[in-house]
Symmetry: C2
Subunit: 303 residues, 2 copies
């Protein structure tokens, strides 16, 4: 199971009624934060999850509205008694910015392990997820992220019984280990079902809807994608400012064959994003216009 | 006239229902901001004043809860079309921190003029105020600020008439200039009343209530002072953490003979600061427990 909270949905400036765009993902109790603008720690507190289990922060890019909340958040996590390391990922240039911001968070009770990623890099993520990233097109280097949670193959108890495996050895087989007992041996392949589709989420913001990004996000259960402009009339503005309209985000989701789309990162000039929902759902029925604090649970679909 | 808005009242961490402590002062349309923690730009937006006329930012010290909002605010002010310089003041160490934070606000349409102040320094402030500062006692160098708005001497029209000054020259005399006309001369002293008390405000936070601070804030119309802890039982904690209790803040205000006291910078553990108001008003009747967005107008008292 993966849980996601859209902590905020704003772009450029935090507003009294709209936090900056940021996504929190929980898997097996471990937390990953995507982007951290000014106020993200407050939005997080409203969401109610403890900060102690934050294990990784994935930064899309170093524009202030995506990173300015980092020092405050690091303090807040320290305040929540974390002592284990936190991994911070971002595109080239992130180290310089994190170093600058940490002039006001120089001493922390845990280590901050920073990695600048290159497009195509894979990396381990909290809760057993596998991370990958893909460059977008923006004024600064920007990365889209994807997190995949693999699913174990089903354990088939009737097979184990047929093979006469003592029940106390079933757990090892489930974990993929071969077992041996008085009178027999068994391999995991003999008692496990076919490979099963896991769960996946992609986070794409501050970029044009490149074809490579649709490939990158192929088949994800949840695509969280920017839609800075709701109206189709802002298509030229979206292109000029290297953002997307709702329609472009929906087209990306459709091309990626995502299951669901949450649109986020609204321009401060977009007072009521919901008004433009039709521009997205016309293209992709699984599109939802994001709201601050919106939650989703991704669960395995049993085959 | 001086107007003040207490943008926030929190210390250490911004909370969903409490912005970090920060004060905005307006004189003759020009704005001065005291401290800028994470979220200050949002609190400011709620207060409704345009950001374009921000002319100076006075930072008490460089702990994150007092400065982390700086880069976001600088962007927001740029967004409000400011092009004239902004002065930033702070204690020694401020330049390093502002440089670090500006890694995410490197290009602005106005100049940021930074000055590190030493205790006792005087400096010009927006709207014709005179600024001064005094060191406090905290884990880092910290400055208390005072802003004095001088008041013009009254113009006495009956005296000007007696001296036969043509009415078109009265303005120059009011501005303190000597005038000459066909058949006469006049000096300002001949037509102006006695010197009059101006208006003043002091901002004191993140320090112990040093005796020097009471002297520094002597006779101010409004003292905005931290009271991190409401209960008298936290006096030892206040001393250890170099903060103040409400009672200590009130004692400082009484010793300074301030007219009014606004208490701010509450510990996140202080759920309902109002409960402890009595600890302050017992000592100083002009004490008020601050609330986010609280406003005050300081007007001349005519003698």
């Amino acid at each position: 199971m993966m849980e996601a909270v859209l902590l905020g949905t704003g772009g450029m400036l935090p507003l009294p009624d709209r936090w900056l765009s940021s996504l929190l993902v929980r898997v097996n109790g471990a937390l990953t934060l995507f982007d951290c603008g000014e106020g993200t720690q407050i939005a997080w507190r409203q969401a109610g999850w403890s900060m102690r289990r934050l294990e990784a922060i994935c930064l899309s890019h170093t524009h202030a509205d995506h990173v300015a909340g980092l020092p405050g958040l690091l303090h807040a996590v320290a305040n929540a008694d974390r002592s284990e390391p936190i991994a911070v990922y971002g595109p080239p240039g992130t180290a310089l910015v994190v170093r600058g911001l940490r002039t006001i968070a120089p001493y922390l009770p845990y280590e901050v392990r920073l990695t600048e990623l290159r497009s195509g890099d894979a990396f381990p993520m909290p809760g057993g997820m596998m991370g990958s990233c893909q460059e977008g097109e923006h004024a600064l280097p920007v990365l889209a992220y994807r997190a995949d949670l693999p699913r174990n193959r089903a354990f088939l108890p009737e097979r184990a019984r047929e093979r006469g495996v003592p029940i106390e050895l079933w757990g090892a087989l489930q974990r993929g280990e071969a077992v041996r007992w008085e009178g027999g041996v068994a391999e995991p392949n003999e008692v496990l079902g076919l490979p099963r589709k896991g769960l996946s989420i992609a986070y794409i913001t501050d970029t044009r809807p490149l074809r490579e990004l649709a490939t990158f996000a192929a088949g994800v259960d949840l695509l969280v994608c920017e839609g800075t402009y709701g109206s189709d009339e802002d298509a030229a503005k979206a292109e000029k400012n290297t953002h997307m309209t709702f329609r472009e985000a929906a087209t990306l989701a459709r091309d990626a064959a995502a299951r669901r789309l949450w649109i986020t990162h609204f321009s401060p000039g977009l007072d009521d994003p919901g008004v433009f929902a039709g521009n997205a759902t016309e293209v992709f029925a699984g599109a939802v216009v994001g709201r601050d604090g919106m939650r989703g649970v991704l669960a395995y679909v049993d085959v």
